[in-house]
């Protein structure tokens, strides 16, 4: 299998996961500050 074919799913799910993590972390920080 051509490794280039694995890049798109890794990019798509990785970017969405990173954004979800940033939102969760910001929410957690906001909760801690309250």
């Amino acid at each position: 299998m051509n490794p280039l074919g694995l890049l798109p799913p890794m990019l798509v799910w990785g970017a969405l996961l990173a954004y979800a993590y940033l939102i969760q972390r910001a929410k957690q920080r906001a909760n801690d500050d309250e």
Partner: protein
């Protein structure tokens, strides 16, 4: 890292895995230089459609903010701009991989690549504009106006410019694959399964981002 509730992500991760397996299992498409890599489309196309949706949504929520002055609409503008820019970045990234696999070069100044890069930069400009303003009301107003103003260049760059005869002639990128029936059943299955999961995840992220804005502002 330990403060994030990872258990919430498990159902989404399972769905993403299933969609990836479905997309990766579809047979090679004939007519491509690298038939086994045509399946990159299953990730590229849903991101492109959804990125366009979020750009239009940001303009709509901007209009709603100016009309009603409800700060919740501004939270939605922020979420739309952020998710739209992530998705348009993914459109460019998956497009670059497809370009390398099928046309031999990572970036070849194809009109379609360049026009979407401008859309991506416009969205990042919207985020920078928000980051550069501290006053809530002023930020909401300028962001709403920006999102509405972006609609004209966005529609031109996405729907008009790539279909101009001279541009279409110069571009490798097809503009009417779906309309012309150029996608077979296997590709529809791959596109719809990845598309459904991306839509579901982005919808959840959107709601999460809106509730975060409300929490940070003290509305929640």
């Amino acid at each position: 890292m330990q403060n994030v509730d990872w258990k919430k992500l498990i159902p989404y991760a399972v769905l993403a895995l299933v969609a990836t397996v479905v997309a990766m299992s579809i047979p090679p498409a004939q007519g491509f230089r690298e038939p086994t890599l045509a399946k990159i489309l299953c990730f590229h196309l849903p991101c492109a459609i959804l990125a366009s949706w979020y750009v239009i949504a940001s303009g709509w929520f901007g209009f709603q903010y100016l009309r009603t002055k409800r700060i919740e609409m501004d939270h939605r503008v922020a979420a739309s701009l952020e998710i739209g820019s992530i998705l348009s970045g993914l459109v460019l990234a998956t497009g670059i991989v497809f370009s390398k696999a099928q046309w031999g070069d990572w970036w070849q100044n194809d009109p379609r690549q360049t026009s979407f890069l401008v859309v991506c930069l416009m969205l990042l400009g919207g985020i920078a504009l928000r980051a550069g303003t501290t006053d809530d009301e002023r930020r909401a107003r300028s962001s709403a106006v920006f999102s509405i103003a972006c609609q004209v260049p966005f529609f031109f760059l996405t729907f008009v410019y790539p279909r101009l005869p001279a541009v279409r002639k110069a571009s490798f990128h097809p503009s009417n694959t779906v309309e012309s029936g150029g996608i077979d059943l296997w590709y529809w299955i791959g596109l719809l399964s990845v598309g459904a999961v991306v839509i579901l995840i982005c919808r959840t992220l959107f709601q999460s981002r809106v509730s975060l804005s409300a929490q940070l502002r003290g509305d929640a």
